[in-house]
Amino acid sequence: MAYEKVDVVIVGAGASGSVYASVLAKAGKKVLLLDSGPDWELSDLISSEIWGRRVKPAGAPILLEGKNPMAYAAQGGWGVGGAALHYFANFPRLLPTDFRMKSEHGRGHDWPISYQDVAPFYDKVAREIGVSGDAKAEEKWRPAGEAYPMPPMKTFRNGDIWMKGFEASGIPMVPAPVGMSSVEFKGRPACLYDGWCHVGCPVGALANPQVTYLGEARKAGAEVRAWSTVTRVLTNQAGTRVTGVEYYDDKHQKQTQEASVVVLAAWSAQNPRLLLNSATDKHPKGLGNASGLVGHFMMSHHVANTWAMFDEDVQNHKGTVAVQYMSYERYPKKSHDGVFGSSFITAGFAVKTADLANSRADLYGPELADYMKRAARNLAGIKAFGEEQPNMENRVELASEKDAFGMPLGRLTHSFDSDAVALWNANLEEGLRIAKASGAKEAWSARGTMPTSHLLGGTIMGTSATNSVVDSYGQSHEIPNLWVAGPGIFPTEGASNPTFTIFALSQRGAERMASQWGTLTN
């Protein structure tokens, strides 16, 4: 079956792809989203950690290697909505210093844009999909912007109980901005604080793509084709333009979809895999890969988890999985003596029974049973996300083994460097001090495996094809009608959760594409 040519084909219907689809469909473009998984609906989002695993990655695996293999399957998404279907909707932003790491510290990269280039899009996204928080309170650490459209979320004892300890440690905490409704917003109800965000919010209080950009895109005429696995981006003979994509449909039949513009929005590991697998005689190293940087500078955040038992019932079943409080106080890159990198501190979140069990992964048998009873009442945690610097050796490449469609599997190699390990340790040590000052009866650091969170890089932005894969909008330096969206284009990662920035950069890129449409299609 031959499909009609479209203006834009977007590979991946997650956070970034849905923004592009919405903006471009509203601009009158014929938009098609291809996603390798199912077309989830809100009624599929059962409140159960067990059933929630259905929205986690399936299909061809990414081979994970290195000293600190990425927790790919726990973090990723599968199907329409992508990882944003089960994300926590923490919406902190990057800070100005993140855009100038090379200039300020001689490390990593500078972004080709500044915070001020992105700031209007943070505000726009907040207005579009709804953010709850206290912008004024955050402005002790960042330039002023618009107020958030909704007041902060409620807090609970599992968050409030830490405030004494933070105060004693000289760390001011403010309401965390989240992509959730503290009050009714654009017809979406206020949050119920039941803590099921991470298995998908079916109520509509959490800004997942289904109730925000994707819904808007569909309303504007965008088509979503689920169970469609893209294996190659196709080019013209001269290799100067992309012409569409090759994919396998729900019946595992090979299809070709022609398009004027191709947007890769399949997350940080799959985008490089696709570019590398689309090599031609004109692009022997893969599309957009003259720099040889496709797949390189993969980054993840490390997470310092501190757990504590308190004498009182902290009602840890209440709240959201997103955090209640946050602080940028340790965000300056040299906050900890002799250690480099930003830290983003958070407190107060709902936990489920799997979290209770995982908070003491060493316990089993009767000791675990006893612990579960106590933890159900008295356990609370704080988390400090830490930055790792971009490292050329952290990379995605093609493996010799192939998937069901004959496409080479991706191999993701990731190791934290000594700076990251030192920062993680510093954050864990500070966490214990905070717990003690909070009055915890007992406190411990979650050591052992160093946790990875979020996946960024692999198709980084920069000023030219010599130092990067795309420009600041996500447009390939080499092929003008090939774009990449999502956290893969971040050249440094900061320490804060990336999704608000993903939305903002995607909004900026999509608006640019719409405004420059004539230059892309000629």
């Binding site: 059962i46 409140s47 159960s48 990655p57 599968w78 119920l192 039941d194 079916p202 109520v203 048998g365």
Partner: protein, 186 residues
Amino acid sequence: MANIGRRGFVKGATLGVLAFTVGGVEVIMAPGEARARNVPFRLLDAHQAETLESLGETLVPQAREAGIAHYIDQQLSVPPHEALLQARIFNVRPPFADFYRTAIISVDESSRRMFGRDFAQLSATDQREFVGRMRQNKIEGWTGRPGAAVYGVLRADAVDVVYGTMEGYEALGIPYMAHIPPEKRW
């Protein structure tokens, strides 16, 4: 958004249950009920099931009664993208049956070397000691996936069947507060 209501606004339809085969007919029930009704296993043999039950019970008390072997067996019989096993989150590569099959072999081989008997035949004390060593990758001559990985996946399965259900929450006194409740309280 008119159809999106409040807590518990819609039932889990047919998605929140597991299908077991009884007398050639698919019956929807929770794994604990499947065990109580002695529902035949689809893939596991009797020894494999017994070993998984023993491991599960050692890791999380009540996992046997909660139907850990029936849960794993049923989950191994569905396509990997439909599986609910923690193995999926732990980056275990499908088919997941390979992981469980080799894990059981590794456990029994090591158990026989250490104690002269299969794991399921050990005393509760020896089972506990074995699992403690397995967790720390401290079993000499262990083959296959690292012991810590086997511990992590099986412990997670046991936590699921004992504490991940509505009954599990109830037993701990935690309000479940479902938006869309899983059927059969599973």
